[in-house]
Symmetry: C2
Subunit: 142 residues, 2 copies
DNA sequence: ATAGCTGCAAATGCTTTGCAAGGCC
DNA sequence: GGCCTTGCAAAGCATTTGCAGCTAT
């Protein structure tokens, strides 16, 4: 169970309410794990394991539902780097990622460190929704 | 069944052999579908459906295996744009993609139309393996 | 002949869904 | 109380694997 002072809990609850989500025990727990330590990159399974280790009662299905609700509400952003698993990022602003394909770890790259220039026009009848840069890395000498 | 002249078939067979793969009926069929019409972006399911409509005998499992063998052999490249489905691109050189998230269609962007500058150093102990830029687009007014 | 392929079906891994029970306002 | 949320289990996809039979060289 998430252990933080009552002010922080109240901030979380207000944040959820502002997003149009009822502050339930599970949502508070997951929001606490996601947002207390700054920027994080999680998969549903990892977040679920953390919640369980934290003595919280949350099912994996609820973790999935919650991650999507948070994403729809703008509290999270999905990062696509693996065709078999979804990653969620607590940093919703524009930025990019390193993805270590061996350890499967994500690292942020500030948006201002990558400049995409001379962008071609999108296909006819479409509009640009977002630009994602993923730099795949592997351990050296391995 | 793929219908092309014997010269083209022989070219395909040699290409497979050069990649260290036995030119079997299934591989010729799939290679024919993939490489005869220039650059293509396919999922396993789409390629399988095409092969079946072409009166070829190929199982979906073989399509999956073949796509990965071709990728390992450098004939294909995997493009990660969806966390639930794998796309394969017949264009293996450096370039980027538009991904229409509604129609799920991929469009190439030549590498020289996108410039990624001031690239930050990769995380300690890792080396860069590749840079992928994905521009997500949606239909206009919808 | 034999090492490599294929097909099927079953297994796997991640994710979603249906529905009854429970919790928030 | 009423509606939203949760949990469980089952279902749903995409993908991989085991193994017997087939095939290219």
């Amino acid at each position: 169970m998430i252990k933080i002072d009552s002010t922080a809990i109240e901030t979380l609850r207000q944040r959820l309410r502002a997003a149009g989500l009822r502050p339930t025990r599970q949502r508070e727990e997951l929001a606490g794990l996601l947002f207390r330590d700054g920027n994080r990159h999680v998969t549903a399974e990892v977040l679920h394991r953390e919640a369980i280790q934290d003595d919280a009662q949350v099912s994996l299905a609820t973790v999935y539902n919650t991650l999507h609700q948070f994403t729809r509400a703008g509290l999270l952003r999905e990062v696509v780097v693996d065709s078999g698993r979804a990653y969620f990022d607590t940093h919703t602003g524009p930025h990019h990622h390193f993805f270590n394909t061996v350890s499967q770890e994500l690292t942020d790259i500030p948006a201002d460190r990558v400049l995409v220039v001379d962008l071609p026009a999108p296909p006819t009848g479409t509009q640009v929704d977002g630009v994602e840069v993923v730099i795949r890395v592997t351990p050296q000498n391995g």
